[in-house]
Symmetry: C2
Subunit: 786 residues, 2 copies
Amino acid sequence: MLDKLPEYRFPIDPWRLIEREYRGDDLGTTETLFALGNGYLGMRANPEEGREAHSHGTFLNGFHETWQIHHAEDAYAFAKTGQTVVNVPDAKLMKLYVDDEPFLLATADLDQYERVLDFRSGVLERNVVWRTPAGKRVRISSRRMVSFTHRHLAVMTLEVTLLDSPAPVVISSQLMNRQDGEDEYHVEAASLGEGKDPRQARKFTERVLEPKLTRERDNEIVLGYRCNHSKMTLACGTRHLIDTPCSVNVATSVADDLAKTVYTVRATPGDPIRVTKLVAYHDSKGVPTPELADRCTRTLKRAAGDGIEQLFSEQREWLDEFWERSDIELRGDDRAQQALRWNVFQLGQASARTQEQGIAAKGVTGGGYDGHYFWDTEVYVAPFLAYTSPEAARKVVRFRWKMLDAARERAAELSQRGALYPWRTINGEEASAYYAAGTAQYHINSAIVFALRRYLEASGDLEFLAREGAEVLVETARLWADLGFYSTNGNRTFHIHRVTGPDEYTTVVNDNAYTNVMARFNLRYAARTVRFLAEWNPEQFAALRRATNLRLEELDEWDAAADAMFIPFDDRLGIHPQDSSFLELEPWNWDGVPKEKYPLLLNFHPLVIYRHQVLKQADVVLAMFLRREHFSIEQMRRNFDYYDPITTGDSSLSACVQAIVAAEVGYDDLALEYFEQSLYLDLCDTHGNTADGVHVASLGGVWAGVVHGFAGMVEWGDYLEFSPRLPAKWEGLAFKIHRHGSVLRIDLDRDGCTLEVTDGAGVPIIDGDNRLMVEPGQPYRIPAKP
Amino acid sequence: MLDKLPEYRFPIDPWRLIEREYRGDDLGTTETLFALGNGYLGMRANPEEGREAHSHGTFLNGFHETWQIHHAEDAYAFAKTGQTVVNVPDAKLMKLYVDDEPFLLATADLDQYERVLDFRSGVLERNVVWRTPAGKRVRISSRRMVSFTHRHLAVMTLEVTLLDSPAPVVISSQLMNRQDGEDEYHVEAASLGEGKDPRQARKFTERVLEPKLTRERDNEIVLGYRCNHSKMTLACGTRHLIDTPCSVNVATSVADDLAKTVYTVRATPGDPIRVTKLVAYHDSKGVPTPELADRCTRTLKRAAGDGIEQLFSEQREWLDEFWERSDIELRGDDRAQQALRWNVFQLGQASARTQEQGIAAKGVTGGGYDGHYFWDTEVYVAPFLAYTSPEAARKVVRFRWKMLDAARERAAELSQRGALYPWRTINGEEASAYYAAGTAQYHINSAIVFALRRYLEASGDLEFLAREGAEVLVETARLWADLGFYSTNGNRTFHIHRVTGPDEYTTVVNDNAYTNVMARFNLRYAARTVRFLAEWNPEQFAALRRATNLRLEELDEWDAAADAMFIPFDDRLGIHPQDSSFLELEPWNWDGVPKEKYPLLLNFHPLVIYRHQVLKQADVVLAMFLRREHFSIEQMRRNFDYYDPITTGDSSLSACVQAIVAAEVGYDDLALEYFEQSLYLDLCDTHGNTADGVHVASLGGVWAGVVHGFAGMVEWGDYLEFSPRLPAKWEGLAFKIHRHGSVLRIDLDRDGCTLEVTDGAGVPIIDGDNRLMVEPGQPYRIPAKP
């Protein structure tokens, strides 16, 4: 695996991802790995020159086009509206010509090349020395930053210095709306055959962005567009500055799809030419583009006023605080330390400034999965946010609260009470066209409640509970109570049928263990929390009842359903079957299916996969991790022993969870192996589709692997338990978590771990049979179990 | 129900369907009910004038366009090529103008109107007296016939007689290729929203038939076309004759999409103007249109030479023989007699001249279900054919044999050995875009074997068995043996998982009872028959082994799988659960779902339907009918009692089978009720979609209802058993069946039935505990059970 990260090309560095050799054969992957983003605005790491690219991507979280889903064979309540994140106009372009010869990485004779993504400065830098066709050496240095502090802003600089002899230098800085077909990636991907890999983004065959505005004044250019069908609007603007002792001529041109600011310079050796480019993007659901253009102007003016050095400095300050909260320090494995920080940095880039939006499966690094929001943000990413930046977790949950009306409508379409969240969506409408692995995954409801609870526990934010959280709890619990039913076969057990669990290699089954475990949690937590609200804040409770027509008996009904919830268990094997008939399935032919036939979903008809005991991810194992309290260690081990060998790991959500539970049940080597699989999943492109964007859920899973796997953190109500089990090849591991407003630092070494409250009041923990408080200033030591 | 057939409008007649009032509000239904066809060429009953229509349909069996199926979310081995029967150029048009005023039924002032479909003459007649806007009375008589004896030929006559005063009369006889959008039906249907009812035919949005040829010579016009994508070719030609004492001028014009032969007549009162129009259609997979045009010329010349009176007379002779073989005589219920004959007549029209093609779900009467062939032809129609016209059954089975290579390829795509027949197809490729209710219906394999066996038993055609049948048996049995597997849970039972039975309201289940029963039959019958072949004709057996790479051990493997086949049975209820988890499903809310929410498939998301014990058709009941020998009467009654109340009958395949089994278990009133539901299913448009074409399978089911339901015929190996149970409101019922080359007439009265061999050698039967022969000339009496 690590041979994909050879040191000569990607040297080890604890705080930076570095590339020392340009290569054209893995452009898609490196565009993703070096991508910049702030959760709202994302830019893939395309070079300033444009041209060679897997995908010239610039994305605004939630900015999407809609389209009618045509079902080859339609049925009632199938998803109707497709939604695809739009690749917005490209402002990264700063083309360079020396002696009228274009600088292009793919063909350039390079004396030096280095590209660096710095996790502390939040800046992508490139330093190149180019020997032009005329033999002149030119130093080209560029910096690019998507601001964490100014949501709509990106900053770029390009510095060109002739080293030998004078030459005319042209820098053409562009803002280009790439329509389909002009983008090499699209052409290439289309040749794969439409929909060949359902995980890639939809290719549009007609114009998506209709030009609505071009504006050029002072030093500023703004282009405005409206999406053809979704009617979302967009403005993007640039502002340029040039700084050089050489003589300069500037010309601008503005057309619907291309704005250029062209500097023609009589460059003299040793005299740097530095162009600064400020870029602003604003979008909306329908605000007219002139208004958005004004917003761009304000963003650009403010940034120009601040000056770019201050902007770079604010960026570093923001990241200092981020790392203070979120860093994972790893001692004894420098490559893994680098990878860990890259993972955490990408989590920051995916979540920092999402504001009113969610976090897409690929963050803002690519168009994969159409830019949709899924359940995995809630289960894999929200805990990281809750434990390190509670405010960011709040946004994730609030985003779902805002979607509640759409989810109520969707439940009604599916003939159910309450709310059913869409399996994949941008605008709140169900966009999953294949219900068996989409709409049938009702468990998304419980994922949202899981994230809500994580946030409430990290923050203690009762106001949020009262105003937003409780409504989500009521409507999700209602869905479960209505979806399931009591079996009339003697024992009144509560069953949930024809659903799909997280494992998509078995679909539309009865009593999926994961779903039932999580539904039970959802029902109980809703009943308990709503009762708490009734007592704590009768006025808010009254408001809740008005908003939801809640009957008091419903709370009892939820508890009763939870108590009667059927969780499949096989006495003979001592395991929890994945669903009520899973153990009846035929074993998969592990020996007979060659390696190149994986992932199975691209090589076998769904019926073939569904017919066998073969998993994409082990959802019983996930259930054990998420609802640890319901499983004994013995049960966990038996389940893990059963499911691990039949899990393909074709899902990127699989390895991190296998790592955590392997660690929990004492399979240390396997735990590390799985952890490393998820740690390097994107960096080594192990799933072959990092080009489509980072796997955000897996990034969160890596964090969880450290915290829950190696530090063994388990939540027991108000108490935390730690079971330190540092992999033998490491020397130490340290991180912090937020807990009810306090901050707890956990520092693992080979013998155990030290807990220390670094901020706030004491934190309650369990150590063996003891419940106690770790008090500020009094580090507490937990020895590793022998 | 029968209020849809009021006597003043549809008078009762034992041999004719008659309409006495024109109405514009059920055009789609009457176009279907009065449609003509010979299994190859079908013409909907549009009036000669064109214009008002639900669908101006003319169809050639198997003549189709292909299109790429776009799956909203694609997956491996999903069906790729859509196929849709093409509405071919319309030759029915013979427009009439008197005093330049067009005759149009919708607006005409009619003194008299009658439309008659005569089951013995095979001619559709219309007789009208029109009072023109000028007050002149005009008698208009037309006849139309699709020839049973000349596959490619249709004949029409139009006779116009002025009754009062002279007037200029224009008859414009046309051949029109209606492109989409010009057809009122398409416009109307499109407004329903694409795919709203998945049972309707696909609407094309681009030109399908590319004009390739126009030819006009002598008295003949031919147009030739090629399908845009399938590249199938078509030629259609007309030849006209006019006969009148009045003075006539004729003009023809030919363009790509419209050929006209226009007669302008100075008509005088009392002098009939009679125009005869001969029409020929020829199509092919790719023969150039000039060659097809020549074939049209030959067809037309021959017909012209014969003269139309001879053509009409041949038609009657063909039908005389048809009725001799196929008639069902019903005494004591004239309306039912008429309906029965209409049903049988439509079966004849669907099957007479299919030649190298199958029988589509709508025959050649409409574009519903895209003109596809399904399993129901084999199960519902092939027995009628086998028992009345064995040669027609042979064609049905041979058509599937010819599809074997495609079915082998499809099995391989689905990772299986053997052959898997497509769920729906025209050209042999799977065209079902929704696999859960399509490809997953593996039971189609057994349906084909079922039809094969019916044919072999009726005909004793061992040559066919040796040359075609055995190969089908080997490859279908192989599929089952490979698809299923032996459970390792102690008892080595054989299971077939993740399949869908005929009931499409429960999909992708384990051990569907119907599927397993039929797979067992398929396996056993294949093993036994191939063994028989090995003994009977070693040479053909050797050829079979070469063609299929058959290993001898496979025969034992098929027997073993059949012996170990798991058939779900619930001891407590004493019933066969529809599948292994059916009884665990939630009961359907029968009281809470209003009537207008049926059929459920148009009003509930599939997941909602699948989650409940609610059936579209009761496939366990069907299994009991098809494999009667495996079920005791007690089991049958229990199963029927369980499934009948939870069966919606949303499928048109349901009522006839419920009727048969209800009769078998002694529910006489219910049997008659269900029988009448299927008898009048199209005539009273009870499913609301007769406009899309007749329900061919249900037609076959009506025949089966008489034979197996009321006569109680059951096959026990070589013996037939009869249990006469004539509904109390009838006086008698008589029909014939073919058996090993003999013909047996069964005549039911209130006390029992009389069996009589009317042709061939004796026929072995079972009567109570006796096995005996009914010998020619010695009628045998079976009394009704008290």
